[in-house]
């Protein structure tokens, strides 16, 4: 990430863990348990978070809900501009007809990823409903899409980047960091 400077750490290990516990509880509460529930992580950041949430849910319910993995590269509306971006693995073995699907992603920004993910899901069947859980909502939506469960809302500017850095991807610690292009711009300090 050349040209970007670390501006602000929005969440650390503890904050991320607590947020995932809360998101998992909210999902269970809203859906009345894990019956007919299917948790689908969006590659790659969302997939790691979905894995962690599955463990939290399994601990609380003593049984894991159905789960899946979705790569949305082939459904992106900007794929031609990006010159054949790398395609990841999709794994949606279970029948999702009639299921309550909860999509998990790390950051929601323009909403285009979620649009692509919904298009992809519908090619696999007709879920009863699709809900969306994200760790970070950074605002700046371009599509009429709104998450049902949010870890933290962080107002950002378009020239900033929000990175969710997880241990699963070889990082030493879990962190959420905002990067900016202007080194001297004052960081928007937020109380956790």
């Amino acid at each position: 990430m050349t040209g970007y400077f670390e501006k602000l750490m929005v969440m650390g290990e503890k904050e991320i863990r607590r947020a995932l516990v809360r998101l998992s509880s909210e999902i269970l509460e809203r859906n009345g348990g894990i019956d007919n529930l299917m948790v689908v992580g969006i590659q790659t950041g969302g997939a790691h978070l979905a894995n962690r949430m599955m463990k939290i849910i399994e601990k609380s319910e003593e049984k894991a809900p159905e789960s899946g993995l979705l790569d949305i590269t082939l459904y992106r509306d900007d794929a031609p501009m990006l010159k054949a971006p790398q395609v990841g693995r999709t794994d949606l073995d279970s029948d999702l007809n009639g299921k309550k699907v909860v999509l998990i992603d790390d950051v929601i920004y323009t909403g285009r990823t979620i649009r692509a993910a919904m298009d992809a899901l519908i090619d696999f069947g007709r879920p009863k409903s699709i809900q969306l859980a994200v760790l970070i909502d950074r605002g700046l939506r371009e599509f009429p899409i709104h998450p049902d469960y949010v870890g933290r809302t962080v107002p950002t500017a378009p020239d900033e980047r929000v990175e969710v850095l997880l241990r699963e991807e070889g990082n030493k610690k879990d962190r959420v960091i905002i990067y900016g292009t202007d080194e001297n711009a004052p960081a928007k300090k937020e109380e956790p």
Partner: protein, 309 residues
């Protein structure tokens, strides 16, 4: 992305390891699409792909068409009998006219070795080689390599026997180029006039006098089709003699590694290069090759469409 891939896919000769790996990895992730209720993704929506087959083909053409359609591209096809080539139009003119109709990619099979390279000097759009004469058939070799990787895990030190008419086989040529650059050891066997001279100079290629020697201990046995349509009497006395000396039967299979897989690019001349009980036996991965062909061609179309000039 797309480092290691050229604008056109003309052959595997000189293609980098990264390029080959990128195609195989992408193909691996594309396999799952064939198992979906809706076997189609929108990645190449609105792209027009020309299928120009100037030689007969069933499975390669079908496989490319299926690959294109699963990526939502639109395909158009021309073949020799129907094209203006029979009216005396040159290949360049035919393809330039079609390019003028704004196709985005050209998949071509042609009887002349090097036809694609020649055309690539005059055409801007990516050209995918679906077989050129005796020269190369890169997507076949890539699907063979994907099948080997699925079964054997990798290529480093993998022993692959290729048996048959090497000289006239574009499948063998592409496999030899691709496999040697990935670190495999190639054992070659076939009638002497059908072995290219100085083949061993490529490195990691050894020519064996008998099929028994060639397949002893190998991990993969690839039998080539005897291309009776390309043969003259000088090269090929009788099918029965060929079968006796170079055919694969159950007894010969026993000489290979106990987990060896058996491959054939198809269409099989049953009872000539291979006995039916071997072709249909438990070690045969011939139909997996066909399945993998669609995924590999999807990867090639997808990635090549993204390569900028």
């Amino acid at each position: 992305m797309n480092e290691g891939l050229d604008r056109h896919l003309l052959g595997l000769e000189g293609m980098s390891r990264e390029g080959i790996e990128q195609i195989l990895d992408t193909a691996e992730n594309f396999k799952e699409i064939a198992k979906r209720p809706v076997k189609k993704v929108p990645a190449l929506r609105g792209k027009n792909i020309l299928m120009a087959f100037f030689e007969p083909s069933t499975r390669t053409k079908m496989s490319f068409q299926m690959a294109a359609k699963r990526l939502s591209a639109d395909t158009y096809s021309i073949s020799t009998g129907m094209s203006s080539l029979v009216k005396g139009e040159t290949l360049i003119d035919t393809v330039r006219n079609i390019e003028a109709m704004a196709v985005d990619m050209i998949v071509m099979r042609h009887g002349f070795s090097g036809a694609h390279r020649f055309l690539s000097r005059y055409i801007d759009k990516p050209i995918i080689n679906a077989g050129d004469g005796w020269h190369e058939h890169p997507t076949q070799a890539l699907l063979d390599m994907l099948t080997m990787r699925d079964n054997k895990g990798g290529f480093e030190g993998l022993k692959v026997a290729i048996v048959g008419d090497i000289a006239h086989s574009r499948v063998a040529h592409s496999n030899i180029f691709g496999l040697t650059s990935m670190g495999a050891q190639i054992h070659i066997c076939g009638p002497y006039p059908m072995i290219p001279m100085e083949l061993e100079k490529l490195g990691n290629v050894t020519v064996f006098p008998t099929i028994e020697d060639a397949i002893r201990g190998v991990d993969v046995i690839m039998m080539l089709r005897i291309q009776l349509e390309r043969m003259s009497k000088h090269l090929f006395p009788t099918s029965r003699e060929y079968s006796t000396i170079f055919g694969l039967n159950r007894k010969r299979v026993e000489l290979a590694h106990k987990d060896a897989i058996i491959m054939h690019p198809g269409p099989i001349n049953r009872g000539v290069e291979m006995e039916p009980d071997v072709a249909d036996g438990p070690r045969s991965v011939i139909l997996d090759q066909v399945t993998n062909g669609v995924a590999v061609r999807m990867a090639v179309l997808y990635l090549q469409m993204g390569v900028t000039q």
